[in-house]
């Protein structure tokens, strides 16, 4: 007992000295690897040097800064977390994948509070799963807007998609907007008509549900608008600023192409928010994704090293460094205070992005497969010959989205038939994720169902496997060849699968 008290005392002392104890024990030199985009490698080196100079808590970093593009970083981290950079930058769409891969360390309490307090809320949401922050917002400019060649496109046309297409066709120049190979860009039309695709994750970052309204009357309007563009012979499915020197008059892309396009077009460069398109007399302004770039810390084994790395990440995504990146490379800051500064507001590109932001949807967490499923719509729309074809494109899309949850091999299905087994109309399918399902059984004739593996309907679990709660279900004996679970009375039940056993509890 004495020993326990001593421990308790020590623990309380440590707790009260968090700041001070941390300060002394963090001091030291750390060999680290930092992955950033090629264009900010030198800048980041300087910034880390500046951090070392400030000598905060006696921490010094011996950093190797490698150029790894934001797209590449996530793929590399998933390949092998251990070989990844201690700090690495990535675009928001890779976030969920990285969390699931175990490649991101959670932020400490203080760091989390600090990030949440200073950054744009959408950027904070982008780095959050459940209630936990997993990364530091690095920039908030990962969206797209329109660049155009002033010598081809008259200023008064930039609000109308139809006028822009006509201008391009008349001038025999291309309208580059990546509609056939990228879901990120083609979602623009859907967001314009008010469709949404909102994904929910559980605390582990696993996707559990989606609210997707692309397959709706609004979605049909969106693909009608898209059809106008993709069927134009002068539509180019590309999002590269360099297309301006290959006969393009309009390119929809983001801040990263600003300098390139400026170099090509010079004074003829125009930037604007995306145009509107018209279907059946109503005008819809094209939407977009409002996304950000994040910096993550690789999970660490040593607490001191982890704490030091988090400090560096905070510094690199803090006021000073975000401003540095804005000044050197025009990266739009994610810190609210900086977004309001005059210098940032005066930047034409960021200004156009800001104008577009009004119509933009915060990117949130999106299932990794959505990008592959969504990008097909453009090709589908192009191939469609009539409205039925357009609708088919949406149906196809919708089926695949709902499929995402069915094909999860860890999931089981509960197929319920409330009014007798052969009555297909009232069959309901529930997904049993994480081995637990809560369902409402309505009062009806049969009130039964079976638990099956989605890949294999033959290997079902049912009556025979129920170990707990057998009194809640009917024993139909030989009348139950399908091994169904038939409830004795209506109500709300929780089914838990525990190995090969099934437990049923009435709530």
């Amino acid at each position: 007992m004495k020993k326990f008290l001593a421990y308790l005392l020590a623990a309380i002392m440590v707790l009260s000295m968090v700041g001070a104890a941390g300060a002394t024990e963090l001091a030291g030199t750390y060999d680290i690897t930092v992955w950033v985009a090629a264009e900010i490698v030198d800048l980041t080196k300087t910034q880390i040097e500046a951090y070392n100079q400030s000598n905060e808590l006696g921490i010094t970093f011996n950093a190797t800064v490698e150029a790894v593009s934001e797209a590449e970083a996530a793929t590399n981290m998933v390949t092998d977390v251990e070989a990844g950079g201690d700090l690495f930058c990535f675009a928001q769409d890779q976030f969920a994948r990285l969390v699931q891969a175990g490649a991101l360390a959670k932020l400490g309490v203080k760091a989390g509070e600090n990030v949440a307090a200073t950054n744009d809320p959408f950027a904070v949401a982008a780095a959050t799963v459940g209630d936990t922050l997993y990364a530091y917002p690095l920039s908030a400019d990962n969206g797209y807007f329109m660049y155009y060649d002033k010598s081809v496109i008259p200023e008064e046309h930039i609000d109308s998609l139809e006028a822009l297409i006509a201008d391009c066709e008349a001038a025999q120049k291309y309208f580059a907007f990546e509609q056939q190979t990228s879901a990120w860009y083609l979602a623009s039309f859907f967001f314009g008509t008010g469709c949404e695709s909102t994904w929910e994750t559980d605390a582990e970052g696993q996707f559990v549900s989606v609210k997707d309204t692309f397959n709706s009357p609004e979605g049909l309007i969106a693909v009608k608008g898209m059809e106008k563009l993709v069927k134009s012979p002068f539509h180019l499915s590309s999002a590269s600023g360099a297309e301006f020197s290959s006969n393009a008059a309009i390119v929809v892309t983001g801040m990263w192409d600003y300098e390139t396009i400026k170099g090509i077009l010079g004074d003829n460069m125009g930037v604007a928010d995306l145009p509107s398109f018209e279907v059946d007399g109503t005008s819809y302004h094209l939407g977009s994704f409002k996304g950000c770039k994040l910096m993550g810390v690789k999970p660490q084994v040593d607490p001191a090293r982890a704490a030091a790395l988090h400090r560096l990440a905070q510094y690199l995504t803090g006021d000073e460094c975000q401003m540095g990146r804005f000044e050197a490379r025009s990266w739009g800051p994610s810190i609210t205070a900086l977004q309001q500064s005059e210098a940032v507001k005066a930047h034409p590109g960021l200004n156009a992005l800001l104008a577009q932001a009004e119509y933009a949807v915060p990117q949130g967490q999106v299932h990794g497969s959505w990008w592959d499923i969504g990008k097909v719509i453009g090709d589908d729309v192009k191939a469609a010959t009539d409205e039925a074809g357009l609708q088919l494109a949406l149906d196809n899309y919708h089926d695949k989205i709902s499929n995402l949850f069915k094909l999860d091999t860890s999931a089981l299905l509960f197929v319920g038939a409330w009014n007798g087994w052969n009555n297909a109309d009232d069959t309901d399918t529930y997904y049993i994720k994480n081995n637990t399902l809560t369902l409402d059984v309505p009062e009806s004739d049969y009130m039964g169902g079976r638990i099956v593996n989605p890949g294999d309907w033959g290997t079902d679990k049912g009556f025979a496997q129920v170990t707990v709660g057998k009194e809640l279900i009917k024993d139909l004996g030989a009348d139950n060849p399908d091994n169904n679970i038939v409830f004795a009375e209506a109500g709300n039940y929780t089914i838990t699968i525990n190995g090969s056993d099934i437990n049923i509890i009435k709530n």
Partner: protein, 511 residues
């Protein structure tokens, strides 16, 4: 099917003979499958009796052997050492020591973990002093599987060596009984460059193949029976484990589990294009390459070396540079469309990469550009080897150029390059670079199964496999299943061709 006698067969034309053989092959499939089971049964029987023989042989060696032999059962190489074969004895002993040490230090652990592929995943803890999270890594399913397999390899190697060790004792006893002398270490070393020279030569290549080809393939085949993917990577997030035949069920299930195609249908579509591609890629290159080689080799054509060098440049420049450029050339706003439009020949850009059919034809055409130089080099030499008097006499008989080609050149070429055509066909089925660099599989196929990544109309099985591996979900287990299916398809095709082309079967014919 009508069976021809030898005489009737010989009366048939070349084409008819080929058809006959192909038809014969397919008609014989049921019989062959039956034969396969018989062969399998025989194999099991032979294996069973062989093992029985081995065991009884080992037993009799033990019973009849002297104490040196008997002790060798426990201490490998003891018999050799006791009988003066120091080198062999030491090698055996060393191997045993290494084996036992390995099994105790590591092998036992890997083997014991193999059935579960690990029990404890990584854990994360909050460290209150530093206000930070730290991760502790535990079991590693990947390593367990890898080193588990390696340990099994090692055990097999040990059993084999132990058997050799026993046999050597038996033989040594026999030799000594007849009064002859045993081979000394020096003799052994000498035989390694003489009688046993093939063993010396093969040891290095085969070790390499065992570790860097066989082991990975065994591993990847096993992965098809696990749930190894990006979110079950076995160490950093979740452990992976055995799932039996689940993945094959998913892949081979014709019933789509909702929207889009089933995996099986997508696989079928990709496979049919892969075969189509391999066929066209092989034969367009073959005939056009031969044609170019003949043109360059024609009498009276000057600057032969220059023409060849120009073509050979495509081989010398890495494909990831040249093909990426060519791909851009054919883009909607690329220089080819730009040129055609400037000349006024077309009003709007040709959909080289946008339209499925156009894209497929374009990749085949561009592949000609890649392939002709190789074929030109290969056929140049063979064409020169055709005896010139054949042409001479044909010319005297009044045969024109086309007749000379169909009657002399082509049959000769086909006979000599038959095996090459087969390897080239299977090589094209797995031609990753051309498709990946030119189109990346585009345009996408809207019907394709959703969870299998975005499958395009120009995707080959191999590029699809690459997409599955490196795609958003890194479904290694699925890639592994596809890989196994690719193997089955390639093996089947090779089997068909081997049965149809007799010239391949008998390699000694060429010597």
């Amino acid at each position: 099917m009508k069976q021809y006698t030898d005489l009737e067969y010989l009366k048939l034309s070349k084409g008819q003979r080929l058809l006959y053989r192909i038809a014969g092959f397919f008609c014989s499939i049921p019989k062959k499958i039956g034969g396969l089971f018989v062969a399998l049964w025989n194999l099991i029987k032979t294996a069973g009796s062989a093992i029985g023989k081995e065991v009884s042989d080992i037993w009799s060696t033990f019973v009849n052997g002297d104490w040196k032999t008997r002790l060798s059962f426990l201490v490998m190489g003891f018999g050799n050492l006791a009988r003066g074969q120091i080198l062999r004895g030491l090698l055996f002993l060393l191997f045993e020591i290494v084996f036992i040490a390995y099994m105790i230090l590591a092998g036992g652990y890997w083997l014991s973990m193999l059935p579960s592929l690990g029990k404890v995943g990584p854990t994360e803890e909050y460290n209150i002093i530093f206000d930070t999270y730290v991760t502790t890594y535990n079991d590693n399913s990947f390593k367990i599987l890898l080193y588990g397999v390696l340990t099994i390899f090692f055990i097999i190697a040990f059993i084999y060596t132990w058997r050799v060790n026993v046999k050597q004792n038996q033989m040594a006893e026999k030799i000594l009984a007849t009064g002859k002398k045993l081979k000394s270490g020096k003799d052994d070393l000498r035989s390694l460059v003489d009688d046993q020279f093939h063993k010396t030569l093969l040891s290095l290549p085969l070790t390499g193949i065992l570790i860097f080809t066989v082991l990975p393939i065994v591993f990847m085949v096993l992965v098809a029976f696990t749930n190894y993917d990006g979110t079950h990577d076995g160490y950093y997030n979740n452990l992976f484990t055995w799932v039996g035949l689940d993945n094959f069920n998913t892949m081979l299930n014709w019933q789509s589990a909702g929207g889009g195609q089933s995996y099986a249908a997508t696989f079928g579509e990709v496979l049919s294009w892969t075969l189509m591609w391999a066929f066209f890629a092989t034969f367009t290159n073959y005939f056009l390459g031969m044609f170019v080689a003949m043109a360059i080799n024609k009498k009276g054509i000057k600057l032969k070396k220059v023409w060849r060098t120009v073509l050979v440049l495509t081989i010398a420049i890495p494909q990831f540079i040249s093909l990426l450029y060519v791909s851009k050339m054919f883009a909607k706003n690329g220089i080819i469309n730009g040129f055609l439009m400037n000349m006024g020949w077309i009003q709007q850009a040709l959909p080289f990469w946008e339209d499925p059919t156009w894209a497929r034809i374009t990749v085949i055409l561009i592949n000609i550009w890649i392939g002709i130089p190789y074929l030109m080099l290969i056929t140049t030499g063979i064409l020169m080897n055709i005896p010139q008097d054949l042409y001479e006499s044909a010319r005297i008989d009044g045969a024109n150029a086309w007749q000379q080609y169909t009657k002399i050149t082509l049959p000769y070429m086909l006979f000599v390059t038959g095996p090459y055509l087969l390897t080239s066909f299977t090589g094209n089925m797995n031609n990753f670079n051309v498709i990946y660099l030119l189109t990346g599989g585009a345009p996408t196929n809207p019907d394709a199964s959703s969870a299998a990544g975005a499958v395009g109309y120009t995707d080959l099985l191999i590029t699809w496999l690459f997409k599955i591996t490196t795609g958003a979900e890194s479904q290694y287990y699925l890639a592994s299943v596809v890989g196994i299916l690719v193997f089955v398809v390639v093996a089947l095709i090779s089997l068909v061709v081997y049965n149809v082309l007799p010239s391949i079967k008998n390699e000694e014919d060429f010597q």
